[in-house]
Each structure stands twice: as structure tokens, then as C-alpha cells.
């Protein structure tokens, strides 16, 4: 395997449960965390609904995979970009999202927020800076 480290972005634009893309995308992120790449996730359009808090799937008989997002920090995946405009169009604020954190090894395991709200233009620049963009 090549020693080169690439910037990987997972572009999440779909709501959860209506389709499996969100969940099977997350499965790639988890497997991909074992590879030594620089990983970030973007939540755009309906993708912001993936990390809405208070998900409870008991009534639809499907698996609630939202707790897995909270585990991403343990996999050293802690760059989660959420698009501001996408939140606003859906009447959401960052308080409607799960509180996702990671522990920074370099700062005595200080707990830090994984979610960064960015503007559409900032996200366009983040996308531009990637080596590989995964879409599901």
C-alpha cells in the first residue's frame, strides 16, 4: 500500500431511514478509519438530518444507527462539517443536532466539539481542498 496520506471527504446529502445511504456511508467511514488517511465528513442538504438528536426508530422497526455518530471520535474521526444554509432552510440550529465530541490527545485528552458549522462557500472550499470525495 502507498504511504501517501490523502484527504478523504464523505459527502452526506441524504436523510436517514428513508434510504440506507446514510447508514451504509457511515459503515464506510468506520472501516475507512482503520486506514491512515485524513478524514472529514460533510453534512449538506438533507444530510443534516442524519445527525439530528432524539432519533427513536422503535416505531418503524428499523435499527437506530444515530448513536454510531457519537462513536466517531473514538475512531479519530472528528472533522464534521455541517452546512449553515442547509440547517437554516430546514428550520434547524446546531442545538437540534447531537452533541458530538472527541478527545484531543495532544491537549491532555481535552473534550472538543466535532461539529463545525460552516457556510456554503466555506464548504465549497473544503470540497475543493480534498483528494477524494465519497458520495453515497
Amino acid at each position: 500500500m502507498s504511504e501517501e496520506i490523502k484527504n478523504f471527504l464523505y459527502l452526506n446529502r441524504r436523510a436517514p431511514y428513508g434510504t440506507i445511504y446514510a447508514w451504509e456511508s457511515l459503515e464506510v467511514v468506520l472501516i475507512g478509519a482503520a486506514f491512515d488517511q485524513k478524514v472529514s465528513l460533510a453534512f449538506v442538504d438533507d444530510g443534516v438530518f442524519q445527525i439530528a438528536k432524539g432519533q427513536d426508530t422503535s416505531g418503524i422497526g428499523m435499527k437506530n444507527f444515530s448513536p454510531t455518530y457519537a462513536a466517531l471520535g473514538d475512531y479519530d474521526v472528528h472533522q464534521l462539517f455541517v452546512e449553515k444554509e442547509s440547517l437554516e432552510e430546514r428550520g434547524l440550529t446546531v442545538d437540534d443536532l447531537m452533541h458530538l465530541t472527541w478527545e484531543d490527545e495532544d491537549e491532555d485528552w481535552a473534550e472538543k466539539d466535532s461539529i463545525q458549522v460552516v457556510s456554503r462557500l466555506e464548504l465549497a472550499e473544503i470540497i475543493a481542498a480534498q483528494d477524494v470525495v465519497f458520495s453515497f
Partner: protein, 101 residues
Amino acid sequence: MNALHTVNKSPFEKRSFDSCMGHILEGSAVLLYEDGVYAAMKGTAMEGKVKSAQGVRFYVLGPDLKARGVSEERVIDGVEIVDYAGFVDLAAELDKVVAWV
């Protein structure tokens, strides 16, 4: 004859909610389910569309709302929350079901 119109896609992603809204007549009902439940949320561009539909009843599937973390307080006033049994009742009560898949 009055129809139960169903919408299962997000109004932010697909055209089906808007298309449904353009084809409903007084006396009919609309059921929002799966990702369609996002059209039942207050404070979005959908709220005005739902409120301006005269003589049309709106329903949203509770289990799909809960799955997506949308609390009942966020549902547009006048939109009634039903479960799968309520979905069945609506399908039986109205004269036919039109799916805007």
C-alpha cells in the same frame, strides 16, 4: 371522489411534495410519511404551503417523525399525527390512494 394522497420523500430533496400539492382538491387528504414527514415541520417554506391548502386535511406518520427526531411540538398546527393503523383508516375512509412516489 376524494383521495388520500401520500408523500414519502423529503420536500427539500424531491419535487413530489410540491407536485402533490398542485393536484389536491378540496375534500382530499394528504399523508406525509417516511422522509415526507419533513414537510410537516414548522418554520420552513413548507408551512405556508400546507396552511394555504383550503379544505384539505393533513396527516403525518408519528413513527416516522420519531425515528427522525422530529418532536411533536415541531409539527405544523393542524397537521394530525397518526400511526400505521391511522394510515390504514385513512386509506379505507378516502375513496382511493394516490402515491406521489
